[in-house]
Amino acid sequence: MSVKHALLGLLTENPKHGYDLKRDFDDRLGDIWNLNYGQIYTTLERLVRDGLVELFDEVSQEDRPDKKIYRITSSGRNELRHWLVQPLKHEPRTLRDELFLKLLFIDLTDPELILQQIREQHSVYMAHMMQLTNRKYQIDGSARRAIENTHDDTERRRIERNRLVSLVVLDAALFHAEADIRWLKHSEARIKELV
């Protein structure tokens, strides 16, 4: 995924400084994508260098460096528009799991060792799914309440958009965790059958 385009997208809303960008990003994608301040600031530097973003304002702060506020340039908007209509890469994502390695080297004369690990991993994924579902339920509920309480169409559309993005992202995480659970169950049955 592209940090560059994520920051450009967030800056189309209004000028922001690094902290705003981090907060706005986490609100929407923080459940699945950990973006740190280091990545944000190095990407901002690169965007300024390439003329896609410019310094908009500097706010002095006591005992701390000035707060730099950035805004997107017209080249930045063009770059974002171009990226949005580009087709996604048609490549399967890398599939890699430590279990593959363990299966290569573990002593299968004592299958309980690996089966125990599979069961533990299953619990981890299931607990993860509960957390994700809980978060989804909370986001959905607060969006529904916010929509009921607003009469401003633009605000309603903004809430709807953010709700949709959050739910789609959380669904992706949930479907992946579910696939992992199904795979673990299947592997457990396969190992039991083989041994």
């Binding site: 509960m130 809980n134 659970i181």
Partner: protein, 231 residues
């Protein structure tokens, strides 16, 4: 405690099939509990025991303070009618009745007149977002809408305990999710206790507690601490 199982064991086929072995389980009021497990793990048997549809071979099942094994058949039927709401995978709606009539059915059986219970039936159909489908018969409703009618019916007698057996098993992914959202909302808003049997991890994840059965025993238990709501 709303539901208590003390050392409950059950078997079928004259002891040839051991469905449950020494189950101990406490479920508090307002909890949403999912029971998971492979086919034959005993999860449906557990639900039937809590519903009082089956009596255990050993141990006690106590629901809302009543030892189900000590109730007469008549008392058990009455207890179930007033305290337990059942939701099934196959909806089990009567095809010749409208959505509203299906919802009112538990209280009609209980001897109430349609006139006095109509307002509650309509309120429940509004609650499950079927305001404009009250006069439709089941074959005029989608699977998700039929399950909503079945949920409204389960709420009609104001039962504090709701039991659901694979409630999303016959629904597509999105309709199933809408039903789960609704069930969780009902548990929270109306302070019901819900026990749901499912083999689907995504359905189970809607619960605040997941109990997994393997070979008739509890093999795993997971719970969630409610997160601080983020607007």
């Amino acid at each position: 405690m709303t539901v208590q199982l003390h050392n409950v064991s059950h078997e079928y086929n004259y002891g040839k099939v051991q469905a449950l072995r020494g189950i101990n389980l406490d479920i508090r009021a307002g909890q949403f509990v999912a029971i998971m497990g492979a086919s034959g793990s005993g999860k449906s048997t557990l639900l039937h025991l809590i519903a009082g549809l089956t009596q255990p071979r050993d141990g006690d099942v106590i629901v809302l303070g009543h030892h189900l094994g000590k109730l007469s058949d008549n008392d058990l039927t009455l207890f179930r009618r007033r305290n337990i709401g059942l939701i099934f995978q196959a909806f089990n709606l009567l095809p010749t009745m409208t959505a509203l009539e299906n919802v009112m059915l538990p209280l009609i059986i209980d001897g109430k007149s349609k006139r006095e219970i109509r307002a509650r039936g309509e309120h429940l159909l509004r609650l499950v977002q079927l305001t404009d489908r009250m006069d439709h018969r089941p074959d005029e409703l989608s699977g998700g809408q039929q399950q909503r009618v079945a949920i409204a019916r389960a709420l009609m007698n104001e039962a504090p305990v709701l039991l659901a057996d694979e409630p999303t098993g016959n629904l597509d992914s999105k309709s199933g999710e809408d039903i789960l959202y609704l069930l969780r909302e009902l548990v929270e808003r109306e302070n019901r206790t819900m026990v749901m049997v499912t083999h689907d991890p995504r359905a189970a994840a809607y619960a605040d507690r997941i109990i997994t059965l393997s070979d008739g025993q509890i093999s795993e238990e997971l719970g969630i601490v409610a997160e601080v709501m983020v607007s």
